[in-house]
């Protein structure tokens, strides 16, 4: 009786093992037949490469592109340790990262694929929707904490920031803060969408986010008199605009080159626009 049961267990486990082996064999042959490209990095650049990869794969059956977020730092770290072919970043590679890459025999090569503008979002009911860079800095460092001080309603300013290691924060820090620290009691949110949502439901709020994530539930403030729009961001007149980068190990070759060329093509740049970013159409730098 007991032996019979045991035989049953063995049979089941053998069948189980056999099925695992089968699945493994199938998946191996699958990846061998397909050409795989891995893209990892900034969540800001993610929607651009995501849609680009989908269209590219439709055009080129047999190409397998896997796109992952994780953040600019993660993307570049993955490029350095060889676990991704392409790293996306919403900031320029840091000196330390370049040094570590060179030490590991990886030579990061930079391509700009789009422009992103950082919008300052305020609640639609807020009458004060034109700010200077200096005012924004004072708001974020805590020198100004009521809208009344800069000519708005008597309402406490709810400052919304991003975690200090996000690419959007780093761009904001470089473009606005000039080395000053964000007031420690600022709300810190984990993504562009959350900034959008929090501003939309908080009358006294101000938050910064990628232009592509602006919703019609919030209002984008004019900065130094310049409206936040596609034209002003592409031309660089808008003070808070920044390029979005792609990094490869050396000049892109093979599948990576074809994919990046596709992103920079007229069609690729149209996809960039559709994602709320601004196309550059200048080619590689």
């Amino acid at each position: 009786m007991q032996a019979g049961n045991m035989m049953g267990i063995v049979n089941v486990s053998q069948r189980f093992l056999a099925s695992i082996v089968l699945v493994l064999a199938l998946s191996c042959s699958d990846t061998e037949a397909r050409k795989a490209l891995t893209i990892k990095g900034s969540t800001t650049v993610l929607p651009v490469v995501q849609i680009g990869a989908e269209v590219f794969m439709e055009r080129h059956p047999g190409v397998d592109i896997s796109v992952q977020g994780g953040g600019s730092g993660v993307g570049i770290a993955s490029l350095i340790d060889g676990t991704t072919h392409i790293a996306t970043s919403s900031r320029k590679i840091k000196k330390g990262e370049t040094a570590r890459a060179e030490a590991a025999g990886v030579h990061p090569f930079e391509t700009i694929v789009a422009m992103d503008g950082i919008a300052l979002a305020v609640h639609p009911s807020n009458g004060k929707d034109s700010l200077t860079t200096v005012q924004i800095r004072d708001i974020y460092t805590g020198r100004i904490s009521n809208w009344r001080v800069i000519g708005g309603d008597d309402r406490e300013i709810v400052v919304i920031s991003r975690d200090t290691s996000s690419g959007t924060f780093e761009a904001f820090e470089r473009l606005v803060l000039a080395g000053k620290k964000v007031r420690p009691d600022a709300l810190v949110t984990a993504s562009n969408q959350v900034v959008n949502m929090t501003v939309a439901q908080t009358p006294g709020a101000i938050g910064y986010l990628g232009y592509g994530y602006l919703s019609d539930k919030v209002k984008a403030a004019r900065i130094d008199g310049v409206r936040c729009s596609e034209e002003t961001i592409r031309s660089g007149r808008y003070p808070l605009s920044r390029p979005l980068y792609i990094y490869t190990d050396g000049r892109p070759t093979g599948m990576a080159e074809r994919f990046i060329d596709f992103l920079l093509s007229e069609e690729g740049q149209r996809l960039v626009q559709e994602q709320g970013f601004i196309g550059i159409r200048k080619g590689r730098l």
């Binding site: 032996a3 045991m6 063995v10 994780g70 953040g71 600019s72 730092g73 993660v74 770290a77 840091k94 330390g96 990262e97 570590r100 406490e156 709810v158 975690d163 200090t164 290691s165 996000s166 690419g167 780093e170 620290k181 007031r183 420690p184 009691d185 600022a186 709300l187 810190v188 949110t189 984990a190 959350v194 949502m197 929090t198 439901q201 908080t202 006294g204 709020a205």
Partner: protein, 294 residues
């Protein structure tokens, strides 16, 4: 052949059983190894009691006190919600509820326990935070109070089901003796059942604390995320778990920031370890008291 199989199975299961031990040792070693570079380069007092968390500035500041305080505030706030509801539920289920009420309530509590924490977070962010904000007319609803409320609801099933076990372990003879002496149901409940199940209920509360202190997604979404020591319950805070979750993805590997996040993880681990040890000691005492233990 048969002997061989039995030996084989014994080994397989022994290895499986010891796997968790291996994972635990691995995690502890990793936490210590990865936080060591930070702890070696800085004064421990400055890290634990430092008031400013600016990990990516130059020079960086790694004061974790606001994060630690935030975890404590939110956890105890959550307990203020989940202990009365959880223990009350347990007593009601055991002592007062009819069969049909039990048949509804118990599965409902289990479903509540099974809701993913991100759903609680979303609910807190979209519904509870704006509601609190408008109700109290405060600048933002994303604060320690809202986080405590949502976490408290989340921890309630843990407290309720463990407390319910504890109450159901109280021998029937205790209740019968009490009633036979002329005590009414209320007196029996408060003077006999609750004290007898006291250490079990304490264990339930402590494990509820453990649940709340380690919860990440909800506090990340609802607590507001300000790394400042809160002046009131209605200020935004940034618990330790939320800090790790928000920053780890972008921290440069091997940087001081990276090691600092591991140090936060280490502190969090030590806190939960202490909580678990307390729970174990109390529940052991409880088993002995009722003559159920070894």
């Amino acid at each position: 052949m048969r002997h061989f199989k039995e030996t084989l199975y014994r080994w397989v299961f022994t290895i499986l059983a010891f796997a968790s031990l291996l994972f635990l040792v691995g995690i502890i070693l990793t936490l210590f190894r990865e936080s060591y570079p930070l702890l070696a380069g800085h004064n421990l007092h400055d890290i634990v009691f430092g008031r400013f968390w600016y990990p990516t500035y130059d020079p960086p500041e790694f004061g974790m006190f606001p994060l630690i305080i935030a975890s404590f505030v939110v956890t105890f706030g959550a307990m203020a919600v989940s202990v009365p509801i959880g223990v009350g539920t347990a007593l009601f289920l055991n002592e007062l509820a009819s069969e049909s009420q039990r048949a509804v309530l118990k599965p409902v509590i289990e479903i509540l326990a099974g809701i993913p924490s991100i759903v609680y977070g979303f609910f807190g962010m979209i519904i509870v935070a704006p509601f609190i904000q408008n109700l109290l007319d405060i600048p933002t609803g994303l604060n320690a109070f809202t986080a405590s409320l949502v976490l408290g609801i989340m921890a309630t099933p843990t407290v309720a089901s463990l407390a319910e076990d504890a109450v159901s372990f109280v021998p029937r003879s205790y209740r019968e003796a009490s009633l036979a002496l002329g005590a009414n149901r209320w007196q029996t409940l408060i003077r006999v059942v609750v004290p007898a199940a006291g250490s079990g209920i304490s264990t339930a509360i402590i494990l509820g604390i453990g649940r709340a202190v380690g919860e990440t997604m909800t506090v990340l979404m609802v607590a507001g995320g300000a790394a400042a020591i809160p002046a009131s319950l209605f200020d935004p805070v940034r618990p330790m778990t939320a800090t790790i979750a928000a920053e780890m993805g972008e921290a440069v590997m091997g940087s001081a920031h990276y090691h600092a996040l591991f140090a936060v993880g280490l502190i969090l681990f030590l806190i939960t370890l202490v909580i678990n040890i307390f729970a174990e000691i109390i529940s052991r005492r409880f088993r002995l008291k009722l003559g159920l233990g070894r």
